[in-house]
């Protein structure tokens, strides 16, 4: 029934399984049980992110390009995500269970394709597949695929998880995770580990399973470090936050700059500039006359390009510097609300599959924002993980909209 228009608008359905529907059944029509606050907070977060992306990119684009280029693209991505979200909500999420293996295989194929010459190289890593003007990042979509697959598998266990199940889950995750590691994208791989942990926890894994996994993990990390599987820069990035150095060419330097950016924002921030400056400045000549020493420059960290990747991975530094504690805390509050809705939906779900889907989404977001924001504030290692809804990037944004779609779906059909 979920596959038809009638499934959305219960009033139009006059019989289920040959039986006429009752008024009570009609009230169960999915659209009536939409979670509007979840949708609202999603849109607010997207808008918040889009404005910050604009504030970061507007002064850095070459003069001949549209100053709103990034804003426009981000809004288009959000619109595409919203379209997919709406389309998904027509389908009962329980149908996804059957689709799970195919989605999973498709994702793995995509991840393999990225590693072949089909993949686009950027910044030393193969992470993208190009479709004309757009590039897709299969590793982003893989996050949702893995959530669906694990949720489907674990929900079958109905809370009775055996060691063999844990092993199965680990293998299932390991395949895409290793492919992503090869791109290399250590950060996204860590997201998969976190997802699995969250799903196993709620899915019913025993304490001994976690102890065993922890042990294997420690051995694996030791081996990885010992055998030199990781590139030097990856090790540096991971360890840099423990002892940041002011050497400008080191990773630790980025970290220090990010921290300075956030902290110098203070309580209220230094303000945003969303109009292209009358004299379009290129980053080198943009400085006031003189060799700068004491020229007053507001928003130095953002304006002077101190922070790398500021519209994507380090976007929280722009929030911190420009909007201060007020803006940053508001953003954290919005995320807290979002994740609370996800956990609440996990609890409200009619079945285990729904619970695990919501859990997966909650742990996906929670981990990403903790690592992303934590890294800019110097309490987590530097990894290339985007901030959900806020960082610039189509694949990430669309993936998060799909995740919202899953949550809404579970919530809408909690009585069916």
């Amino acid at each position: 029934m979920g596959l038809s228009w009638e499934g959305m608008f219960g009033e139009a359905v006059d019989r289920i399984g040959g039986q006429p529907i009752s008024a009570r059944m009609a009230r169960k029509a999915p659209i009536r049980h939409l979670d509007p606050t979840l949708l609202l907070v999603t849109l607010i977060l997207t808008a918040y992110g889009a404005v910050v992306v604009l504030s970061v990119t507007i002064h850095r684009l070459p003069p001949e390009t549209n100053p709103n280029l990034y804003l426009i693209r981000q809004v288009l991505f959000a619109a595409a995500g919203m379209g997919i979200l709406v389309a998904m909500s027509f389908v009962d999420y329980r149908h996804f269970r059957a689709l799970a293996p195919f989605v999973y295989i498709a994702t793995v194929v995509g991840l393999v394709a990225v590693l072949t010459p089909l993949g686009e190289v950027a910044g030393g890593a193969r992470r993208w597949i190009s479709f004309g003007a757009f590039q897709a990042q299969p590793s982003e979509l893989a996050k949702v695929a893995v959530i669906v697959v694990l949720a489907a598998y674990l929900s079958e266990r109905r809370g009775e998880v055996r060691a063999i199940d844990v092993l199965f889950c680990c293998v299932t995750v390991a395949i895409p995770a290793v492919l992503i590691f090869l791109e290399p994208d250590l950060g996204t791989m860590m997201v998969f580990v976190a997802l699995t942990a969250g799903l196993l926890l709620v899915g019913g894994a025993k304490i001994r399973h976690f102890l065993a996994l922890g042990g294997v993990g420690i051995v694996a990390i030791a081996m990885v470090l010992q055998l030199g599987v990781l590139q030097d820069y990856q090790v540096q990035r991971i360890t840099a936050f423990l002892d940041p150095e002011p050497d400008p060419q080191s990773v630790g330097y980025n970290l220090v700059q990010a921290e300075i950016a956030i902290a110098s924002g203070g309580l209220r921030g230094k303000g945003m500039e969303l109009e292209p400056s009358t004299e379009r400045r290129d980053p080198t000549w943009g400085l006031p006359a003189g060799h700068v020493p004491d020229a007053p420059v507001e928003r130095t960290q953002t304006a002077l390009d101190f922070v790398p990747e500021q519209h994507t991975d380090f976007i929280f530094t722009a929030v911190g510097e420009q909007l201060g504690f007020v803006g940053s805390a508001t953003l954290l509050g919005l995320f807290a609300f979002l994740i609370w809705r996800a956990v609440r939906i996990a609890a409200l779900s009619k079945d285990m599959f729904g619970t695990l889907l919501a859990t997966g989404v909650a742990s996906l977001w929670a981990f990403q924002l903790f690592v992303n924001i934590g890294m800019t504030m110097g309490i987590m290692p530097i990894t290339g993980i985007p901030l959900p809804f806020v960082s610039y990037g189509g694949s990430s944004l669309i993936t998060n909209y799909i995740a919202v779609g899953l949550l809404l779906n579970v919530h809408m059909r909690r009585f069916l």
Partner: protein, 681 residues
């Protein structure tokens, strides 16, 4: 909250609830961690970090690019670059007063320079604090070796650097035109040409400070290399990245011909010294111009200076010395570029303008015949409406009788031109004395058209525009002098235009002043058929170090500013008169050109002798002028000569022009034959 479901699932779901709670707790811990960290950074530690952000700076340091060369129209290099050896001190290393004192003392001993001088240069705020400061240049080899061998004596802060500097392969040539370079001044940084330029100018930049170096700085400066330095709070450079590569400046190709420039300079100098036996002749100027394009082929000014002494910088004292050898006497100002900055009465040379104005205003025609008595009263008898008559004298008592335009120029008849001046004034509607209606101003309008009273637009800085007396000028000068005993241009009651002003102007006297260049432009217009050209020194901007004149970066096309409202017949009577000035039996420049092959190389010219008054130090002295073009039948050159406080135009100035024409046409003769007496008005 959780909804209990039916049957055996209850226990499982309860367990799931517990697990969800643990899951939620983990997330809450993460949030608490983030919030606390955020609170610490942005609220508790914010002031410290704000300070860090302020101190934390990227410094940009520029290196001076190689400036473009300046070459003449034939590719002769007039200005190029050389590297000077300089002793530099790194202020980042010597940063305590004690170390500074020691370094300066030792350096002063090695270099034999004054210690305070070195200290002053070291303190220069025009050099970036991250660049070593040059404190001495062109040091002897011995001192250089000593510094290099005893680095530890100077704490490793003193070094020998090569710094780019300008070189003049042709030496003492065209100093005013070429200009010189120096560090940009605070004042220059505010000028739109520098403040609006991209890449922007910054303190310490070496820029053109005069002449073409100044005018075309943006083209020839090149793009400086830019290094981005990351410095910590103590100013220590942590790393350096080159953001932009240096690119050398473009070459500037001139209309100027080095050979003609030399010729003009030498002829002027020789002429000045030849005159000094009889007259003070402190200064003079020469313009050689192509009448068809407005291109300046040569421009000489006397006295001048050697550009090489400016290449390495000049102290204020040295500058003052060059500026005026005798204190307060502008005659000796070597920096005054006479061709564009001397504003003097053009005297009779202006008659070529008056003649044109009269014909343009239809108060005379090419066939006009007027008498030339020794004196004439204006306003003419019978005209009582414009005040009482005044007698205007010709330069001689002799009555020449009736004559047309050609003869009037040949003998330089003043009374002929007084009449034209009066007619121009009368036709402009200024006949009511005391209540002037200056709406028409036929004469002034024509004079303005041919380049008087405003700058010519030559591509050199600080051009002066002379003074064209008109009603606007009259009111202005009256306002400025109305509290004087006798206000200029009016009475105590208000400004008054006296027709005599226009009559004086008709022979290039009175309040009228022009620069030699303005006269060259006016002469060009007569020569080339009526086109008032914008004079230009630079022809094009070429690629650096390529003699590819075919593919310039930018070409400055000849620009016609205005066209004289004269037809060929009208122009031809003026031209005929100018030919007769040189070749005619009564010509005022006849003596100066005696023996010159005028049949092969016909010269058209006009002399001018500007009276400087009967009393005072300039009594019985004149400014001598000669404006000319040649060949008269196919004008290729306009030559204007002007000498200050000298003899008559034909006597003092015309011989210099002859010298130049001889050089231009390759005629060999000696100078002394033509230093005879000649009189002109």
């Amino acid at each position: 909250m959780m909804k209990k479901e039916r049957g055996g699932a209850t226990q499982g779901i309860d367990r799931t609830t517990l697990r969800l709670a643990i899951f939620a707790l983990c997330i809450m811990v993460a949030f608490v961690a983030l919030f606390s960290r955020l609170w610490y950074l942005q609220v508790l530690a914010a002031p410290d970090y704000r300070r860090l952000a302020k101190e934390n700076r990227v410094r940009f340091v520029k290196s001076e690019p190689l400036r473009g060369r300046i070459v003449d129209r034939n590719g002769v290099v007039l200005v190029e670059n050389r590297t000077a050896t300089a002793v530099t001190i790194d202020r980042q290393i010597v940063d305590t007063p004690r170390e500074t004192r020691i370094v300066l003392r030792r350096l002063a001993r090695v270099l034999g320079e004054k210690r305070w001088l070195l200290r002053q240069r070291l303190k220069s705020e025009l050099v970036s604090p991250y660049k070593p400061v040059p404190v001495a240049e062109n040091v002897p080899v011995k001192a250089r070796d000593h510094i290099l061998e005893n680095q530890e004596d100077f704490f490793g802060a003193v070094d020998i650097d090569k710094i780019p500097s300008r070189r003049y392969p042709k030496g003492h040539s065209a100093p005013h035109i070429l200009g010189y370079v120096g560090e940009i001044s605070e004042q220059m940084l505010k000028e739109p040409r520098f403040s609006d330029a991209r890449p922007s100018y910054e303190p310490g930049d070496i820029v053109g400070r005069a002449g073409l170096e100044y005018e075309y700085d943006n083209f020839i400066r090149g793009v400086p290399a830019l290094s981005k330095m990351i410095v910590n709070s103590t100013g220590e450079v942590l790393s350096e990245i080159e953001v932009r590569e240096e690119s050398a400046g473009n070459d500037l190709v001139l209309y100027l011909d080095y050979g003609i420039q030399e010729l003009a300079e030498e002829a002027l100098k020789a002429g000045v010294f030849a005159n000094r036996g009889r007259y003070p002749t402190p200064a003079g100027g020469v313009v050689v111009m192509d009448p068809n394009t407005g291109g300046i082929l040569g421009m000489a000014s006397f006295p001048d200076y050697d550009p090489r002494i400016l290449a390495d910088g000049l102290t204020q004292k040295e500058y003052n010395k060059l500026g005026a050898k005798t204190k307060g006497n502008p005659d000796d100002d070597a920096f005054l570029f006479r061709p564009i900055q001397a504003q003097r009465a053009p005297a009779s040379t202006f008659k070529i303008v008056t003649a044109g104005a009269a014909m343009a205003a239809d108060v005379a025609s090419p066939s006009t015949v007027l008498d030339c008595p020794g004196a004439k009263p204006y306003p003419p008898p019978g005209r009582t409406d414009v005040g009482s008559a005044e007698i205007f004298n010709n330069w001689t008592d002799f009555d020449f009788g009736l004559m047309g335009f050609p003869e009037s120029l040949e003998v330089s008849c003043d009374t002929f031109y007084y009449e034209l001046g009066w007619r121009l004034e009368d036709s402009s509607g200024a006949s009511v004395f005391g209540e002037p209606n200056r709406g028409e101003e036929h004469f002034q309008r024509y004079a303005r058209l041919t380049g008087m009273g405003h700058d010519t637009g030559i591509d050199l800085p600080n051009e002066l525009s002379g003074r064209l007396p008109d009603w606007d000028w009259c009111r202005e000068i009256w306002r400025a002098t109305k509290d004087d005993k006798i206000p200029t241009c009016g009475t105590k009651d208000g400004p008054v235009w006296y027709p005599g002003e226009t009559i004086n102007m008709s022979i290039g006297q009175g309040a009228l002043t022009t620069t030699p260049l303005q006269m060259a432009v006016a002469t060009s217009a007569i020569a080339n058929g009526g086109a008032v050209m914008q004079p230009r020194v630079a022809m094009q901007v070429g690629r650096p170090d390529e003699d590819d004149v075919e593919h310039p970066v930018r070409t400055f096309e000849p620009h016609e500013v205005a066209r004289l409202p004269l037809d060929e017949t009208e122009l031809s009577v003026i031209r005929q008169g100018m030919v007769d000035v040189v070749a005619g039996s009564q010509g005022t420049a006849r003596t100066a050109f005696s023996g010159f092959p005028v049949s092969t190389f016909p010269i058209a010219g006009k002399t001018g002798t500007s009276e400087l008054g009967d009393v005072g130090p300039t009594a019985n002295l004149q400014d001598a002028w000669f404006v000319s073009y040649a060949p008269a039948d196919d004008p290729q050159y306009v030559v204007v000569v002007y000498l200050e406080k000298s003899g008559h135009g034909g006597e003092s100035a015309a011989p210099i022009a002859r010298e130049i024409y001889e050089g231009l046409f390759g005629i060999d003769s000696s100078l002394d034959v033509r230093l005879g007496q000649d009189a002109s008005g």
